[in-house]
């Protein structure tokens, strides 16, 4: 009976110890499970929950009642039994200690695993952060490059526009200058020299026929090519007879090639002559 009782007490105590240890495991587990949460607020909440639940579990194996129990035991009469029980108890405790040690090691290993996982996760997160940052930097650079490209494009477009306007203005100015040069040339002594040379050559080539009237006046137009070669002769009006007209046409053709101008700007394809003998 006594041994049964003491057995029961031992079992109870073991149970209490187990519960205690388990409870601490639960507690520790909960704590561990909740702790990794990145936000301290959540940890606090979990801790509150853990405190609320474990106390009854922890209170139940409170040592006071257990401490009262052994008192009646010392007067137990059987020292052999006692020694044996003690040895058993010792073995059991050793076993328990080993068990606890093993569990603690397991726990340490588990914690280490968790710690490793945590570290790995941290590293992964760090890596992800770094990657994200790098990507963000790349993106920033891309946006900046894009902005610069757009600016450059805009600048280029403005520059092209400016150059185009300038080229247009220059071209216009060149046209104006060329026209001015032409006008200036046509007002120059060279123009007179050119007309003088043409007139003289045609004059020298003309043999006025006897039938030419005293008041002869013939107007002809002449086309010449750049070499001065006469391309066509067209009589606009003439008060002479066919012989006179023929003599004038012949004179212009004989005068071909007509003299070249002293200044190329003076050249003109179309010439107009008026034949009007001296009175």
């Amino acid at each position: 009976m006594d041994s049964r009782f003491s057995q029961f007490v031992s079992v109870l105590l073991a149970l209490v110890v187990h519960v205690l240890v388990l409870g601490s495991f639960v507690f520790a587990f909960d704590w561990e499970r909740n702790h990794p949460a990145p936000r301290p607020l959540a940890v606090t909440a979990t801790l509150v929950t853990a405190d609320d639940i474990p106390p009854p579990v922890v209170q139940a194996p409170e040592p006071e009642p257990v401490a009262e129990e052994p008192d009646p035991e010392p007067p137990r009469p059987d020292p052999v039994e006692q020694a044996r029980a003690k040895a058993e108890e010792q073995a059991r405790l050793d076993e328990l200690r080993r068990e606890q040690q093993r569990k603690a090691e397991e726990e340490r290993a588990r914690l280490q695993r968790i710690e490793d996982e945590k570290e790995a996760k941290r590293k992964a997160e760090e890596e992800a952060r770094r990657k994200a940052e790098a990507e963000a930097e790349l993106e920033r650079q891309r946006v900046e490059a894009e902005r610069k490209r757009r600016e450059q494009e805009e600048r280029q477009r403005a520059e092209n526009e400016r150059l185009r306007r300038e080229a247009e203005a220059r071209q216009l100015q060149e046209q104006i200058d060329a026209e001015n040069r032409r006008l200036e040339a046509r007002n120059s002594e060279d123009m007179l020299a050119y007309m003088f040379a043409i007139r003289q050559k045609v004059e020298r080539a003309w043999v006025a026929p006897a039938s030419a009237p005293k008041n002869l006046e013939c107007e002809i137009t002449v086309r010449q090519n750049p070499a001065g070669e006469v391309q066509s002769v067209n009589v606009v009006r003439c008060n002479g007879d066919a012989i006179v007209v023929r003599s004038i046409e012949a004179a212009v053709r004989r005068a071909s090639p007509l003299p070249r101008p002293p200044n190329p700007l003076l050249f003109d394809t179309n010439l107009r002559f008026i034949f009007k003998p001296e009175q």
């Binding site: 123009m191 007179l192 004059e203 070249r260």
Partner: protein, 449 residues
């Protein structure tokens, strides 16, 4: 003045180049809208517009009331004589500044003056002067050219001409020839015969110097390239000889006195040789060169026709001459080192007395223009042919050193007189030149300062 009516114009026309009417009226060469606003009777061309310029009387710093020569007046006369400028008379000037800072440009632009010349003559010694001139564009309000030149009483005119040359070149782009000289032969009646003189005068006809005179004819003067010597033919002793005479000293050497004709000398571009015409005893005229130093003669042509009037091309490679080997006289050329003659002129039946422009681009000659002997010019590049003079007996064309003007002799009332004409035929004018019958003008090279 030779009126342009002298020119036998069969058609007086009007040449219009598209949109540009050019009427040619009787008595005018050409009449062309606004470009021909002015007709100046002295200028036989008449058509060229004269640019209005102002040559302000120069300031004078020295003894007496005025400088020995009117420098501004000489410059104005030179510019006027060119036919391209019309200097305003002193009475038309709103101001007469003598320093650049005193010029009010608007006073000149208001008058339409295109160029203003101011200057001063300062006496710096007993017979030493300093001539300073400045040319301004009153529209641009800038100085175009300005110089200070030393002078003596004897060189003051020359200095003024030199200033005119610089002004003319700045305004036209053509080198001025106002400081050049002309040599010619004049003949004046003396008793039953003539007195012949070889004369060198300034281009404006002033400052005549008689180089040589004789009762026998003098012919064919020719300048050496350095302007220091003249070659000529003299018939003194009733036989022809070729002489080369130093102008400064009057010393001369007889270079050729072969039997028969010794004629038509002309210097090589390096001045070391003469090309001449020698007839020999048989009277067959051919072209020779004579080395002035050694008198060594080289025969260049050997043809039974007449070969005469040789002249060197400016590059020294050819000798151009007149030959009637094809019937009428035409111009030929032969390499100066000898070789075959090649015909150069084909226009008309008579072309003689070749002279090349100093730039080598044009050939001047005497041509038969419908029965009249006139000065003509052929562009050696384009072969364009242009008759420049309007007389009936024009002779002896000679280019000015700028290749832009020619001088020649024409007849007026039976006497020879000198005329100049621009190579484009537009500006022709009479040159003041002594008394008597003036012949064979030859223009000097540019002077050396």
């Amino acid at each position: 003045m030779t009126g342009t009516g002298d020119n036998v114009t069969k058609l007086k026309g009007l040449v219009t180049l598209q949109g540009w009417r050019v009427a040619v009226l009787a008595g005018l060469w050409l009449f062309a809208g606004t470009a021909m606003a002015e007709i100046t009777i002295e200028i036989t061309g008449g058509g060229v517009k004269r640019a209005p310029v102002a040559i302000v009387p120069f300031g004078w710093k020295g003894q007496g009331a005025a400088a020995p020569d009117d420098v501004a007046g000489i410059i104005a006369a030179d510019l006027y004589r060119s036919g391209r400028f019309d200097p305003v008379p002193e009475s038309g000037m709103l101001q007469k500044p003598t320093a650049g800072t005193d010029i009010d440009f608007s006073d000149w632009t208001r008058l339409g003056i295109e160029a203003v010349v101011i200057g001063t003559v300062e006496q710096t010694g007993d017979n030493a002067y300093s001539v300073q001139f400045q040319l301004f564009d009153p529209y641009q309000r800038t100085q175009l050219v300005g110089y200070r030149m030393p002078a003596s009483r004897g060189t003051l005119r020359r200095t003024a001409h030199r200033a005119a040359d610089m002004i003319y070149e700045k305004l036209t782009g053509i080198a001025g020839v106002f400081a050049t000289q002309v040599a010619f032969v004049s003949a004046t009646k003396q008793g039953r015969g003539n007195r012949y003189r070889l004369v060198v005068a300034d281009y404006d006809g002033e400052t005549e110097h008689t180089i040589m005179e004789s009762n026998d004819p003098i012919m064919s003067p020719a300048w050496s390239p350095d302007s220091r010597r003249l070659a000529y033919v003299s018939f003194e002793g009733s036989r022809s000889s070729i002489y080369v005479q130093q102008l400064r000293t009057g010393n001369r050497i007889q270079l050729s006195a072969e039997p028969g004709i010794n004629g038509a000398p002309s210097f090589s571009p390096d001045g070391k040789k003469l090309v001449v015409t020698l007839g020999g005893v048989d009277g067959n005229l051919d072209i020779y060169t004579i080395d002035v130093a050694t008198r060594e003669k080289v025969r260049l042509t050997n043809h039974r026709a007449i070969d005469t009037e040789g002249t060197w091309s400016p590059d020294g490679r050819y000798i151009y001459f007149t030959s009637d080997r094809a019937g009428g006289p035409q111009i030929y050329r032969v390499p100066a080192s000898g070789g075959n003659a090649e015909r150069v002129t084909f226009e008309g039946s008579y072309n003689a007395r070749p002279r090349l422009s100093p730039d080598g681009k044009k050939l001047a000659m005497v041509t038969n223009d419908q029965g009249a002997f006139r000065i003509a010019i052929m562009d050696l590049g384009t072969k364009d042919f242009l008759v420049l003079s309007a007389g009936r007996q024009d002779e002896s064309p000679s280019f000015a050193p700028n290749s832009d003007i020619l001088i020649y002799a024409t007849r007026q009332s039976g006497n020879g007189v000198l005329e100049t004409v621009t190579a484009n035929g537009l500006i022709r004018q009479r040159m003041a030149s002594g008394d008597g019958d003036v012949r064979e003008p030859v223009w000097s090279p540019f002077p050396r300062y």
